[in-house]
Amino acid sequence: MNKSQHKQALLRLGDDALILGQRLGEWCGHAPALEEDIALTNIALDLIGQTQSYLSLAGSLHEDDTQTDDQLAFHRIERDFQNLLLVEQPNGDFGDTIVRQFLFDYYALFRAEHIASQVFDIDAAAIAAKAIKEIRYHADHSSKWVIRLGDGTDESHSRVQKSLNKLWKFTGEMFTVDEIDIVGAASGLLPDLDSIKTKWDSAINAVLKDATLKRPEDGWMQKGGRSGIHTESFGFLLAEMQSLPRAYPDATW
């Protein structure tokens, strides 16, 4: 893996966390209960923290001079972001937010477990080792909510099933292998996505069973985030997230 590919691999880790963190931050002051408002923004805080670490590391691999995490988060354009389409999906209702979180958490957890154990990039390993503790807690929270909503009332069951059906088409992208995944896995930095898929399937299936929810069929899968082709709502997210640093370019995190 060359330097530019190494940087891209780290950008993906940072971008996934950044965009989901930004989405969760939108719940601040709007969640269905005070405790959940605090929970969602706490998760956002962990994700933004992971972002800062990964993007700083990615920026240190820039060709000419070092880029800061601020420059990477706030001064890149839409096509330069490589996050999964799943994490940029609008918050929707609470069920949509929880299902999005649940589907991502286990992917992020198994990916972080791999990164923490590799030696190609020991700085990334240190960030991942710390992140694992946080992600495990997020996964526990989102799973319990999926179970509570799925195995709850008729209303909560049907709505969370609808969220699952709606978001399922974005799960294929997590396991779609491209050039960065191939060279990343060859260097040891990135995991073999097939093995992550096996673990993810079994974790997701176990929770869905407890939640009495039906796992949707793997039909047509939407992809594009990893190559910078995003869904419609992403531009609006960036416009809000980047407006302050773009108006005041010296502003820092």
Binding site: I38, L45, D46, G49, D123, A129
Partner: protein, 174 residues
């Protein structure tokens, strides 16, 4: 010979400097738990001597903990009282764990109404297990319940006591 004794002189100087810087840092408190020092919390890992000055090694608690910036600045300011060239180094590995919180610090947490982490971080049941028992820091009752796995800061969860009915925070075991 002359050079060797010079080195011994330097290493004595270094040891003395490390000692006074460490003592100075004992007064740097965690901004979110102002009754605990960063040393009690296991955030300040060590003070070493490199290239003619001291380096204070810090390990942040949570990735996004906003207190990390404040702690870095305050540690630097305190260290520079004794060694104007002192620097702070952030060590991410090994990751911070509540296992590093001293017993003294755990007692102070309880006194201040925060239930300290129970057990060791390698046992996940203490973090997310449904059977974990977190005693009330106020009335010591073991009959308590989890209100929310999250709380006012990244490091805490919200509980309430079924006996004295007081809400309280629990420092998560990570």
């Amino acid at each position: 010979m002359k050079e060797e004794s010079g080195n011994i002189g330097k290493s004595l100087e270094a040891a003395a400097l490390i000692k006074v810087v460490k003592r100075q840092l004992e007064d740097v408190m965690d901004p979110e738990l102002p009754f605990l020092s960063v040393s009690d919390m296991g955030i300040l890992r060590d003070v070493i001597f490199e290239n003619g000055h001291t380096i204070c090694i810090i390990t942040p608690t949570y990735s996004g903990c906003p207190a990390t910036d404040v702690i870095t600045k305050e540690v630097l300011a305190a260290a520079r009282v004794m060694d104007p060239k002192s620097e702070v180094r952030i060590a991410m590995s090994p990751a911070w764990t509540t296992d590093w919180i001293s017993d003294k610090a755990r007692e102070k947490m309880t006194k201040n109404g925060i239930a300290p982490p129970e057990g060791l971080s390698h046992d996940r049941a203490f973090l997310t297990g449904d059977d974990r028992i977190i005693p009330c820091p106020i009335c010591k009752s073991r009959d308590t319940n989890l209100v929310s796995p999250f709380g006012s800061t990244a490091c805490k969860a919200s509980f309430s006591c079924n006996k004295c009915l007081e809400p309280f925070e629990h420092f998560k075991c990570i």
